[in-house]
Subunit: 102 residues, 2 copies
Amino acid sequence: MTYLFSALADPTRRQIFERLAKGAQPVGKLAQGLPISRPAVSQHLAALKAAGLVTDHAEGARRIYRIDPKGLAAIRIWLDQFWTEALDGYVAEVERSSGDPS
Amino acid sequence: MTYLFSALADPTRRQIFERLAKGAQPVGKLAQGLPISRPAVSQHLAALKAAGLVTDHAEGARRIYRIDPKGLAAIRIWLDQFWTEALDGYVAEVERSSGDPS
DNA sequence: GCTTACAGTAAGCTATGACTTACCTATTTA
DNA sequence: TAAATAGGTAAGTCATAGCTTACTGTAAGC
């Protein structure tokens, strides 16, 4: 989860990711329209890839990046597995401190 | 989203958060069992609070922290709003590159 | 009121993360 | 095969994040 959340913690990286969500793109095209250098984009893509948020494949000289559903799925699983636990705990605490509503 | 993801990106902070998911706790009790100092825990709690992941209230000299559902809800919204877009894009790209399956 | 427990804040240290430029490799095109 | 395009890697810089110790401010207990 650390890689996943770290990857999404950076605004630029989220921007890249959200742009890829609208369609696969090569590195150079991504770099256009971003206020950072192309190598910086490459580094961000490497981070996203390590997190399982994107995949890449060669297409001639270009390298096409696209969303990898694995990453989003992992977050969803974490969240779901968490959701009930956290909310149960929350409700229990609130009830405990505000008197039994039954 | 930046604060939210940054807060969850740190392993220690996630540990604190997940511990709170099992029940509200004062700072000192959280600090016990963690390999870091109590002030460090305070700082982590401040980050979690700023992200909307926890709330606190005074209880005598103690300060009780508990999960704030707002944070998790925000992630869920981000994810949901994203889910369809990303997966639609993904499917569209895959179909485009592997031939029309119809 | 004085002391002890609880916890936030300040200041300083160190490691890491995001960027840059320079470089190298592989593919296309002329 | 030479030139140009596409993009990953290396090395260095600067800012920030996470930690520590020291301090300050409240609430509780004697």
